[in-house]
Amino acid sequence: MKTQIDIVTGLLGSGKTHLINRLAAFGAAVSGTVVLQCEQGLTDLQISESVIHTGRKRDETTCQAVKRIIRDSSPKRILIEHSGMEPITSLIEQLQTKELRGCCKIRRIFFLASCKTLPDEYKCFPELFNEQIKQSDVVVLTGTDSCNRQEIHTARAVLSTCNTQAEFYDAQSEKDFRNLLLQHGKPVEKQKRSDSSFWILLFGGLIFCYLIFEALRSFSPSAIQIPDLQTFNTVFLSILFEAFPFILVGVFVSSLIQILIPARVIERALTRNIFLGFTVALFGGLVFPVCDCATVPVAARLMRKGAPTAVAVTFLLAAPLVNPIVIISTLYAFPGYPVVALCRIATGLLVALLAGISFLWGISKDPSRILSGFDAADCDCEACSGAESAKSFWPKTAAVLRHTANEFFEVGIFLIIGAMISAILQVYLPKPVWTNLGGNPLIAVLAMMGAAFILSICSTSDAFIARTFANSIPIASVMAFMVLGPMLDFKNLMLLSGNFKKRFVARLVATICVISFLVLIIMPHLFFR
């Protein structure tokens, strides 16, 4: 039976010892718990006598201490109080080496933070915090009774940005704390099967079914004909494969910008004077091709650096549309008819400008009323932090490629799901729906706007999905899909909520919808008669 290791980490004063006291007491019925203190906390350890308390010997690393404890007393569980100032990744790696893997297993990593001080602490040591929070399974916020709602919200934003999968608990709430202990306090008697084994089983089952299917097909090919499914398959895959090259280019360029080009250049241009600001905002996307996924953090960062809200909003909406890759993909999707691309850009720029201008009024000067108080604008993935130190060509190239791969996996999911939904609509939706849709221009525009919102496809490839709509819906109405898609969709909305306050997001969404609807029922008809 392997020794279970729980690591409790966090800065001084975050409440680690308090948690350990409770954890040790909870599991005290099971003897054989050892508490390893690597940091002398502000609170004293209060544990029962059956629990052994020890610290690191002189010049001993945490890992060596663990080895020693296991060798000496073979405990069932070791609770490590880890110093928040020491990196945790190397400890985890050391505990997972072949040597130690056989005798111990890391079960839970708890990260504690004091609500009031977390945002400032994070600003001082972002990499440290990033690393520790990312590795944690459970995140606990302490001291919330002395904080107001805003501070709690900010602290939670910090934590969830670093790690979206960890479980979150508020230590002040007794109910929460009890849940925490119930879930994670008791050492498990048996080694539980991990969750991912369910998925692996499912995966294996699918492979098995596929093999059976292939075997059947080789016996009697004509028996397994499902025309609708084949049509769906062909349509779905064709949309997907066509979009892949464009998404790859989009993600690659976005990674290049992220890693190689400092945003200072844009920032300076945007803050000088308002007319220049609007011009740069409208056409800056030409020179800095960012995917619509990337514009939200960039716009937030610009506002933080002092760009006027109106200008930042215009940039947010215009950049994805003047992205050269988006333009090229539109030209590819509607071959021989470049006016489609032209209309898309012109309409989009108009909407962006009008929406931005509307933000010249009624906006508070205080940025903290607009931005959620956390600087989420810097990409903190490993590729970026590694790339800063890389100076020469190959490491930087490798970092760009790694970042491209990571971004591809993040946005690719939306593309696959979007293509699937589009294919389902094409193949299985009854004909009369599309016929009627094509008839009334107002309804068609609204339907296309709705589709654009639901199908959160990257702007570099949504022209191809639009093309499939254009078979039955007039191009003037399909333009709504192509103009609104890059500006606002489900995925964007999630990003916006993470970077801006809810009131601002609500106003932004309403402004975009109203202005784009008005522009879209008029402007495309100037291009297509």
Binding site: N233, L237, Y332, I413, P474
Partner: protein, 281 residues
């Protein structure tokens, strides 16, 4: 204490590498075997090579990450990424069956080209259906003027009298015929297509011998052809391949004058060599 050479492999990174390499391999296989033709327009093929190369490069750049420590592993995203690969391998890429597409009612472009031409004498009475297909047809018209000089061929046909349409010129010819139906009355025409009639509102003795036209991918396929009048049309099986020959005339369909094949002979034929026809190359 030394870290041993063998470290735990990071599952997330492993799956990412496998997925990326699988996509690269899938694209290369589809390109080399020709299966890609069922999905995409030929001008996209170089882009697929680029995508395969990019996937492979990205996979190699991730190799170092295999040694990283890992605490959590979520399998579901990788299952989603694996689904298209399985579907590409498992299900045969059938020709898109037009009857199963919801859009097939509006996919007919062979007939309503006249809708957007406004003559002084005719007020514009464009029905809702034809206006939508007319607008999408506008794209085709613009294309034809840009890319296609049928020019010399037309002269030749007008002298020789028979229009032979095949995969390489059917798009150009159909657009030409739709644009000037009167000009070709009395000329002979011959081509191969599959029977397409259900849901189009043709009269009982009419059908369309059609070919599938692809713009850029299988999702945007439209049926192209010339209306054919044939007394035994009701007995023709949908999607059956036939060779049609006859004399051109004109008729009315949905309020417009369109070319039609009269005195037609319809014989069963082998499937056309090319699965799709393309308006651009």
């Amino acid at each position: 204490m030394k870290t041993p050479a063998f470290c735990r492999i990071n599952l997330s990174v492993l799956f990412e590498i496998v997925i990326l390499l699988s996509y690269a391999g899938l694209f290369i296989w589809m390109l080399l075997s020709g299966r890609i033709q069922s999905f995409l327009h030929p001008r996209m093929f170089p882009l697929m090579f680029f995508a395969a190369a990019a996937f492979a490069l990205m996979a190699f750049s991730l190799l170092n990450g295999l040694k990283k420590t890992q605490r959590r592993f979520a399998l579901l995203p990788f299952v989603i990424f694996a689904v298209p690969i399985f579907m590409a391998c498992a299900l045969p890429a059938g020709a898109v069956s037009s009857s199963s597409l919801s859009f097939s009612g509006n996919k007919l472009i062979g007939l309503s080209s006249r809708a957007q031409k406004k003559t002084a004498s005719q007020p514009e009475t464009v029905s809702t259906v034809s206006s939508s297909s007319a607008v999408s047809l506008k794209l085709n018209q613009a294309l034809v003027t840009i890319t296609s000089p049928l020019g010399s061929k037309v002269q030749q046909i007008l002298t020789d009298n028979t229009i032979e349409m095949d995969g390489s010129n059917i798009v150009l010819w159909v657009n030409e015929l739709n644009g000037n139906p009167q000009k070709y009355v009395g000329k002979k025409i011959r081509y191969t297509g599959y029977v397409f009639k259900s849901g189009q509102g043709f009269s009982g003795d009419e059908f369309l011998p059609g070919r599938d036209m692809m713009w850029c991918c299988a999702a945007d396929i439209q049926v192209i052809g010339v209306l054919c009048r044939y007394p035994k049309a009701p007995s023709l099986k949908e999607n059956a391949w036939v060779q049609v020959s006859g004399t051109l005339g004109t008729t009315t369909y949905q309020g417009q004058t369109v070319p039609v094949i009269l005195n037609s002979t319809v014989v069963p034929s082998a499937k056309a060599k090319e699965q799709y026809v393309y308006p651009t190359y």
